[in-house]
Structures are given as structure tokens and as C-alpha cells.
């Protein structure tokens, strides 16, 4: 089959979606109304850890306007536990509401559905809960100690998973090394906090015993399977819609809330809507794992990297849905863009009394990149090498592509040194160094930060077998449908609901090229509807997967429709289909464009005048296609796996200026050069680079879910959980290289996680560069003005940032937990 003609793919086509969004005509979850709709509110735990001694909701049920009340005990009777995506532990049921124990501040314990939100919230105050507080464990290293308070006493530990992986002769390489850089890095909890909060509407149809959901959940395939299993209904009696989604970034998956709505709706006999408020969002939806990484980097005197050993503690909070996800993705991306022949990775996935951790733009990679890129900058300082030069000496080169890293990732294409060189050039690196020296002479503190990254696209779920010991789900795939309607207009749908990535436009561009029409002639379904959208368990908006699965699905479906159009046209024109092409909305004879049949005429044959079809041809012009990315393979005997599939790369260079009086950090310049292969729509790609980079800046300088020692979240509003505003960030300057991927259908690679991966490292490297003369080493995030001010006053020993380098010996750890994993039915 011939590939897309390329007239529209690659063009900066203005977005279809934007036309409605600029007018406020998007249709988001909270914009949806249903007849007799009730509104839900959740009662949440004020304690980080406590037993529920008594819960009496009768007062709420008596409030006028309340139509249903649900307690944790009732929820556990009426629905099964939530089936985890990564089942690490046996026999720990995770219900949609807390049953007899709360494990984080903000955990829902009861819910009310009433005629309006205010009435529901009033009714919550009539629910009496008696808690017996338990000691909370907030710090993940403390949680690993044998005497730590346990979230699940039945497990006998807070460590959900501990394992070690060695690829190559790490000990030998370390012994041969001229030196070993040892560092310990700490990263905070933060989240991408989509501007639209999470929410759902559930409706129960007693006549059909069927449930219908509307939600901005970004992973509908998985969510449907969880809901059906918990509700005890076949998936065939469950329908789920996604409308416009106001940003997601990994955070929008919490099937528990959909279950609560469903149970309330069934009790009330009316549809129930629940929309998270911002405090609920920040307190209880999803945080990226905070954690600790200890890095040992063996090197030769010339800077050549020989071996890398990482010990990684991921703080899962109360996450039973996707534990170990951050660990596994760090392992898959451990080498960054560097040639490191021997790698060891030891990991702990640890429960604490905090908000459930989970997916957040880049999952694990921002921390992995932070640790490696901080280590590289420190190594450059130690060796007296320019940090750019040290990186250039260690990159995987274009000539080595495809290159397989020790844990099994395959870098398919790209020229990593060229990406960095272009960034240095665009940044005017030499000029900036001179400017920095001049400024220093004037008493000003300028710092230059460099960080580079690989950016994978698509997750191979088979990698979870490393944790669970068995394969429940595997591979990487997506489904799409393309249909030429009876009037000749084109419609398409995709199992992946967009949350701002412009899929309606890109899908239309791809289909337009295949069918020889304009994108304007292709209507792409908004969002997702399980009754009309083709979908898989794997369907959803996650893992940067559009380029590696979705594109193939759309292309495949469009190509099937094209082939059928050509067969029909060939029959009607009595000519060989090979002599026809689709162009300008018609099938025409190559070289004789006057001999043509418009799509509308072919559609009339396909749907109405079906006796005019070629013999054996079915009526209709609709095709479904599923693209399974062939790079996804099972784990091999040496525990190597491509956990992610196709690799883009980027280099960031930034300039910061620190105010010596206040410790304020100002970003003066920020240059990104990236290579995501063929850009399907440069408008979308560039926007993604800007936005993801600002996510990285926010993580570096502003954002932190800060808990006190009792597990109270201290930053639960946008007044104290600070997001970057327009005055906090510079205009991100973007340039690109374009090495098409040889292994994706159109040569595109992922770009959605983008600057969220190297951004924190780039900013941290710049701050340290500004303060290096004071002996400052940046070992944790975020870097606050207060911390900088303390450094400027010479307080290097205070706070976690100044914790000493790792000398020797293991962490204080419980015995390995292997053998407890897997086995969950």
C-alpha cells in the first residue's frame, strides 16, 4: 500500500478544535446536562492515617434534597474492589471509598447525591465519622523500615516491590574506572494539574441493567474494564463517553470516582454528576511519585562513561492502581542518550500515607533525567570539562542507530550530538559564557544550564511482567475507523480521546492525504464513545502513543476505504484500479483527469445503487483498523524489554539570573532544540514543546505538594501550590531537527512529554552554575528563593539540598520483598 501522499501531513494546518474553543463552545464534562441530574459531593478524611471507628450517614440522608448517600461499607458491599493495572500485591482490596481505614488526607469515605452541589455539600456536614488516628508514615525511607507504621498490615510491609537488575559487568567496570561519581538526589511530589478538574456523570438504566458514563477519564479502554468488573456487569452493558477534555497529562484516571457516581445513580434512580473541586484535585487525584535516587557513575579520566548504578525509591502514596510504573519507566530510560555499557538498577516501590501517585507527564523520566543530567554536570565540574563537551563525548551517535541500551530500549534514529550542537548555536553558548563572566565581574549571578533527553513514545505493557511475573496485558496498539458517508463526506474516529493534542485536526490531515480530500472534508469525532468508537483495552490518551499506534490505525483504516473506493471506481469506469488515483475529492484516471467519479457518486454506488458494485463487493464505505506496533515484544530471558518504543530527543539550554539580595531566580533565556521525527502538524508540535517545557520549569522552581510530618498537605490550593504564570517564564525559543523514525508509519515520534523531561534538570543545572563558586550542589527540587538565599548566606549544610554525597553502603532497607509480587487473580 502506498503511504500518505503528504500534501496535508506536515503542514501547519490551523486546528479544527480551536474554532470552537476560542468561542467558548467546547463541550467539557461539566457542560453536559442530563434530565433530572443530581450532583454529588464527597466526604474526605482529615487524617493521613486512621481507623474508621464509626460512620453514621443517616443525618445526611434526612436532608431535604438528598437522594442518595453512599458509605465505604456500602460501596464495598455493592461493588468489587478496583482491579489494578499493575497487580503487585495479593489480597489487598482497593475499594472506591475507604472502608475501615483511611490512608491519606483527602481519601473519600462517603458520598452524597442531591439536587444541587450546595445541598450535597451541606449534607456532608451531617455525616458523623469517628476516627481513631494512627501514626502516619510520610517519608518513603521511613516507610521502608521494619518498624514503620503499615498502610496494609496484611501485607506486613509498605514495600510493594523491590528488585534489582544488572545488565553487563557493572562491578568490573566500576573497578576499572578512574573515578566514580556518587550522588543522592531527591525529587518532590508535583503534578501537571490540568485546568479542568476530573469528573464524571453516571446514569443507570434499570430496564437494560446498563450503565452509561460521561467522563474526562483519559484512558477509557482500561477504565471500562475496571468499572465492569467492579460493578459486576458485562462490558457490553456499559457505555462510556469522553467529551472535550480540558487537559489531562496522565492525571485523569481515577475509576473509583466513576464507581461512586454509578452506585449513587443506581440508588437514586437518577443520573449523578460529580466534578472535582480544585482542593480535591490537588489533595486526592494524582501526584507524580516523589522519591530518592542514588546514582553511581563510573568514568574514565577523559570523561567516558563506563557504568551506571542507580538505587531508586519511588513514593507511591496510597497507589494500588499503577504501582512500580515510575520505577519501570526509569529503568527503560536509564541511560538517557548516552552510551553506557553496564547498568545496574535497584528499585523500591513504597506505600506512604499520601495522595495516590500515578501518571504525570513523563512518568519517572523527569526524575531519571534530573539524576543523570545533574550527575553529568557534576562530573564535568569534577573533570574540568565543559558540560556540553562531556555530553558530546558520550552520546550514542547517529552511526550507531539503531542502538540498544543495556536494559533493552532501542533508540531507532536521531543525531543526538547534532541536536545539542544546534541548541548551543541557537543559545549562542560561547557568547553567553562571556556574558556570564562579565556579569560575575559586576557582582551579578548568571548561570547556564544544559540538559538533554531522550523522549520515548508508546508503552509496551509487557514490561509490567518484570514486576508481576506474568503477562496480563502487553503490547502497544490503537484502533480507528474511517467512513465515507452516503453523501461523500468523510468521518473518522479514534480510540484515543484528545485532551488538547489536536487529534481532530491531525487525523483529518492523515485521512485527507489518503483519500485525496481536504481536512475540512473530514469530520473527526470529538472524544470517545465506546458504542461508536473502535477501541481496545489499550485505548486511551497516554504514554505519548499517538505517533506509534494511533497514526497507524488511522492510516490503515483510511487505506482500506481508499482501496475500496478505487475498486468501485475501476468497476464503474471499466479500467484497472492501478490506473486510478484519488485527488480533489474524486477518483480519476491518471493522466486523464476528465475521466473521474466524485466521492459522492462512489458513495451513492456503495450505499444506494448497490447493484452497481463490483461482483463480491460488500455495500458501504467504512473500515476499522487496529495498529499494533511491531516493536513491542515480550520480556526476554535476560529481563531485557523495550518498555517504550520510539525515541525522540531534545537539548535544552537556559540562562538564569539570581538576585543576590532576595534569592529570586529569573529565567532570562530558554532554548529548546528537539527532534521528534516527521512533524505531522508543526503548529501542534511547537505548542507541545512550549507547554511541556514550562511544566519542567514549574517542577524546577515552583511546584511542590508539601506534607508535614503528620501527613497534612500544606499546599492544597493554587495560592500555595504555585504554577508558572505568564510573567514567570520566558518566551521558549524552539528549533528542530527532523530525523524521521524508520519504524513508525509516517516517521513521527512522540512529542507530548517533551520539555517536561529535561526541563527540571536544565534549570537546576543553570542555578547551580550560577552558584557553583559558593560550593552549591543542587540535590533536590524545587529550588526556592528561600533556599537560594540560604545558600547565598553560606548555609550549605541546611536542608535536604545540602545533604552530603553518598559515601558507601546501602540504604536502610527491609529485606527484599520478592515472592510477594504477582499472583493476584
Amino acid at each position: 500500500m502506498s503511504e500518505s501522499g503528504g500534501r496535508w501531513v506536515g503542514a501547519a494546518v490551523p486546528l479544527k478544535e480551536d474554532a470552537r474553543l476560542v468561542a467558548g463552545r467546547g463541550r467539557f464534562l461539566d457542560d453536559i446536562d442530563r434530565g433530572r441530574l443530581l450532583h454529588a459531593a464527597m466526604l474526605r478524611s482529615p487524617h493521613a492515617h486512621a481507623r474508621i471507628v464509626r460512620l453514621d450517614a443517616s443525618g445526611a440522608a434526612a436532608v431535604p434534597g438528598v437522594h442518595a448517600v453512599l458509605t465505604g461499607a456500602e460501596a464495598a458491599e455493592r461493588s468489587g474492589p478496583i482491579r489494578p493495572l499493575i497487580p503487585t500485591t495479593a489480597s489487598v482490596p482497593d475499594h472506591c471509598l475507604a472502608v475501615d481505614r483511611v490512608r491519606y488526607v483527602g481519601e473519600p469515605v462517603a458520598a452524597v447525591a442531591a439536587v444541587d452541589r450546595a445541598t450535597a455539600e451541606d449534607a456532608l456536614e451531617r455525616i458523623v465519622v469517628e476516627y481513631a488516628p494512627l501514626p502516619a508514615v510520610v517519608d518513603p525511607e521511613a516507610a521502608m523500615r521494619p518498624d514503620a507504621p503499615l498502610l496494609y498490615p496484611a501485607l506486613g510491609t509498605n514495600v510493594l516491590w523491590h528488585d534489582a537488575f544488572t545488565y553487563g559487568d557493572v562491578d568490573g567496570a566500576m573497578a576499572r574506572a578512574d573515578g566514580i561519581l556518587k550522588e543522592r538526589f531527591v525529587i518532590q511530589r508535583y503534578a501537571s494539574t490540568p485546568l479542568e478538574t476530573f469528573g464524571a456523570i453516571a446514569e443507570y438504566d434499570p430496564g437494560l441493567d446498563a450503565y452509561e458514563f460521561w467522563t474526562n477519564d483519559q484512558r477509557p479502554g482500561l477504565t471500562i474494564s475496571i468499572l465492569a468488573a467492579s460493578l459486576g456487569v458485562p462490558q457490553s452493558r456499559l457505555r462510556l463517553h469522553c467529551p472535550d477534555i480540558g487537559g489531562a497529562f496522565g492525571n485523569k484516571r481515577r475509576p473509583a470516582y466513576l464507581l461512586v457516581c454509578a452506585l449513587l445513580a443506581r440508588s437514586a434512580g437518577r443520573p449523578v454528576k460529580w466534578v472535582e473541586d480544585r482542593i480535591e484535585n490537588l489533595t486526592a487525584l494524582m501526584h507524580a511519585c516523589n522519591g530518592i535516587m542514588e546514582v553511581e557513575l563510573g568514568y574514565r579520566a577523559d570523561g567516558t562513561l563506563l557504568a551506571l548504578s542507580v538505587r531508586d525509591v519511588a513514593d507511591e502514596g496510597k497507589n494500588l492502581l499503577t504501582p512500580t510504573q515510575h520505577n519501570l519507566i526509569k529503568l527503560g530510560n536509564i541511560a538517557n542518550g548516552y552510551r553506557i555499557p553496564a547498568v545496574r538498577y535497584e528499585a523500591w516501590s513504597v506505600l506512604t500515607n499520601k495522595c495516590p501517585s500515578g501518571a504525570n507527564r513523563g512518568i519517572g523520566k523527569p526524575f531519571m533525567c534530573f539524576a543523570i543530567e545533574r550527575a553529568m554536570s557534576l562530573l564535568a565540574r569534577r573533570l574540568g570539562l565543559d558540560p556540553a563537551e562531556l555530553r558530546l563525548r558520550n552520546y550514542v551517535t547517529e552511526a550507531e542507530m539503531p542502538y540498544t541500551t543495556p536494559p533493552g530500549a532501542e533508540y531507532d534514529s536521531g543525531d543526538y550530538p547534532a541536536t545539542l550542537r544546534r541548541a548551543l548555536e541557537r543559545f549562542d553558548y560561547a557568547g553567553r559564557r562571556a556574558e556570564q563572566a562579565r556579569a560575575r565581574a559586576e557582582g551579578r549571578l548568571l548561570g547556564i544550564g544544559i540538559a538533554t533527553s531522550v523522549e520515548p513514545a508508546g508503552t509496551n505493557l509487557a514490561s509490567y511482567e518484570l514486576v508481576t511475573g506474568r503477562r496480563a496485558a502487553s503490547g502497544s496498539a490503537e484502533a480507528a475507523m474511517v467512513r465515507v458517508e452516503p453523501d461523500g463526506q468523510v468521518r473518522a474516529s479514534l480510540g484515543d480521546p484528545s485532551s488538547g493534542q489536536g487529534y481532530e485536526t491531525v487525523v483529518a490531515q492523515i485521512v485527507a492525504d489518503v483519500l485525496g480530500v481536504t481536512p475540512a472534508a473530514v469530520s473527526v469525532a470529538r472524544g470517545f464513545d465506546s458504542a461508536t468508537t473502535p477501541w481496545l483495552y489499550l485505548s486511551g490518551n497516554y504514554s505519548n502513543k499517538f505517533s506509534v499506534t494511533d497514526v497507524g490505525a488511522v492510516l490503515g483504516a483510511a487505506t482500506r476505504v481508499r482501496d475500496k473506493l478505487l475498486r468501485i471506481a475501476a468497476h464503474r469506469l471499466e479500467i484497472d484500479a492501478a490506473d486510478l488515483e484519488l485527488r480533489d475529492g474524486a477518483a480519476m484516471v491518471r493522466g486523464a483527469p476528465d475521466r473521474r467519479l466524485p466521492l459522492a457518486e462512489l458513495a451513492r454506488t456503495a450505499y444506494a445503487d448497490v447493484l452497481g458494485l463490483p461482483p463480491g463487493e460488500d455495500p458501504g464505505l467504512e473500515a476499522h483498523h487496529v495498529h499494533q506496533n511491531p516493536l513491542a515484544r515480550p520480556v526476554d530471558a535476560d529481563r531485557r524489554v523495550r518498555s517504550q518504543l520510539v525515541f525522540a530527543n531534545a537539548a535544552h539550554c537556559c540562562l538564569v539570573e539570581i538576585d543576590p539580595r532576595t534569592g529570586q531566580i529569573a529565567l532570562r533565556k530558554y532554548v529548546v532544540v528537539h527532534d521528534c521525527g516527521r512533524e505531522l502538524n508543526p503548529l501542534i508540535v511547537e505548542g507541545m514543546v512550549h507547554g511541556s517545557t514550562v511544566h519542567g520549569i514549574g517542577a524546577a522552581l515552583l511546584e511542590e505538594f508539601r506534607y508535614d510530618e503528620t501527613g497534612q498537605l500544606l499546599t492544597s490550593t493554587f495560592m500555595d501550590y504555585l504554577k508558572p504564570t505568564a510573567v514567570d517564564v520566558p518566551a521558549i525559543e524552539v528549533d528542530r531537527l527532523e530525523h524521521p523514525s524508520p519504524v513508525t508509519p509516517l516517521g513521527a515520534k512522540g512529542v507530548g512529554e517533551g520539555g517536561a523531561i529535561p526541563g527540571p534538570a536544565a534549570v537546576a543545572n543553570a542555578v547551580e552554575d550560577a552558584l557553583a563558586h559558593l560550593g552549591v550542589v543542587v540535590r533536590s527540587l524545587p529550588i526556592t528563593p528561600e533556599q537560594v538565599w540560604r545558600w547565598l548566606r553560606g548555609e550549605l549544610a541546611s536542608g535536604p539540598l545540602a545533604s552530603g554525597p553518598l559515601t558507601s553502603g546501602p540504604l536502610t532497607l527491609p529485606s527484599p520483598q520478592r515472592g510477594e509480587g504477582g499472583g493476584r487473580g
Binding site: A23, F28, P64, D116, L195, E196, G247, H690, V694
Partner: protein, 170 residues
């Protein structure tokens, strides 16, 4: 949506105001926010609610010509006020030049912040027809966007101001 007769009693007040140029008269609960009033009572869902504590700016509307957080105002306090929402800034015949600039520059991704950004930019361009980048960033500093990193939003407002200048020159 009106509350059921059985709903919790809350003091109800009558308000008369102008919304997008049209007179509106309603009886509202004293605790009803302007944002909820616009969205639920009037069906004007273009005004989005992002934080309900006055930080994110998604719910920004014009109140007597000045930008205001509709989540921090009560409908009941707006008797006699003139409120303009994104619906009121969208001409019937098609997008305004500012909206056109937002689309041309792809100054959004998910689009949830966009109505608030358009409202805040309208206020800026009304007072300062040719703002520089720093003025634009300052004017939009009360509106969070989680998607764009603000780059394309600043470009769009700049482009709209230039288009406005060309129009005035003619």
C-alpha cells in the same frame, strides 16, 4: 437549573442585570456564585470554572468593562451590573479578530483557559491597544494556562494588537 422545592432553604434574592447586552431578571440563592449563575441558570457554559478560589482566571468575565473572577462574585451582589462573557465577545457572524488571532497562532491546546484569556486580553487591548510583550504578560499573569507555556497566547495578543493598529490606520 432551579432547585427543587425540597432543597435546603437558602435566602433567595431577586437580581436584575445585563448579560451580554440583554436584560436578565432572576431569583437566586444568596450563595450562588456568578460563575454558577452564568453556567447553570443562563446556560452560558463558555465561562469555565478551574479553581473556585480566584487564582486560575478560567472564569474571568467583564464586569462593567473590567475583568473580574466570576467564581469570587455572588450573583446576588450584581443587581444593576453589566456582565460580558465569552459568548458576548463572539460576534454572531464569526470569530472576532482577537479570536481569529488565537486560532491562527494556536494559542491554546485543551481550550479550557481560552475564554478567560480572551476576556482578559480584551480588557488589555481596550485600555492599551499596542501593548509590548511585558505588558501582555503582566495583563495575563492572572490567568493560568497549563498547556501552552503562554508563548502562543502572547503571540496571538501581539498579532491582534497589530491587526487592530492596521485597522485604525486605514
Amino acid at each position: 437549573m432551579s432547585a427543587d422545592a425540597t432543597s435546603t432553604p437558602a435566602e433567595r434574592l431577586r437580581v436584575r442585570l445585563t448579560v451580554n447586552g440583554a436584560p436578565v431578571e432572576r431569583e437566586v440563592e444568596a450563595r450562588l456564585s456568578l460563575a454558577d449563575f452564568l453556567r447553570q441558570d443562563l446556560g452560558l457554559t463558555g465561562t469555565h470554572v478551574g479553581c473556585e478560589h480566584g487564582v486560575c482566571g478560567a472564569c474571568t468575565v467583564l464586569l462593567d468593562g473590567r475583568s473580574a473572577r466570576s467564581c469570587l462574585l455572588l450573583a446576588a451582589q450584581l443587581d444593576g451590573a453589566r456582565v460580558t462573557t465569552i459568548e458576548g465577545l463572539t460576534p454572531a457572524e464569526g470569530p472576532s479578530p482577537l479570536q481569529e488571532a488565537f486560532r491562527a497562532c494556536h494559542a491554546m491546546q485543551c481550550g479550557f483557559c481560552t475564554p478567560g484569556m480572551i476576556v482578559a486580553s480584551t480588557e488589555l487591548l481596550t485600555a492599551t491597544p499596542a501593548p509590548d510583550e511585558a505588558e501582555i504578560r503582566e495583563a495575563l499573569a492572572g490567568n493560568l494556562c497549563m498547556c501552552t507555556g503562554y508563548v502562543n497566547i502572547v503571540r496571538a495578543v501581539t498579532a491582534a494588537s497589530r491587526a487592530g493598529a492596521r485597522k485604525r490606520a486605514r
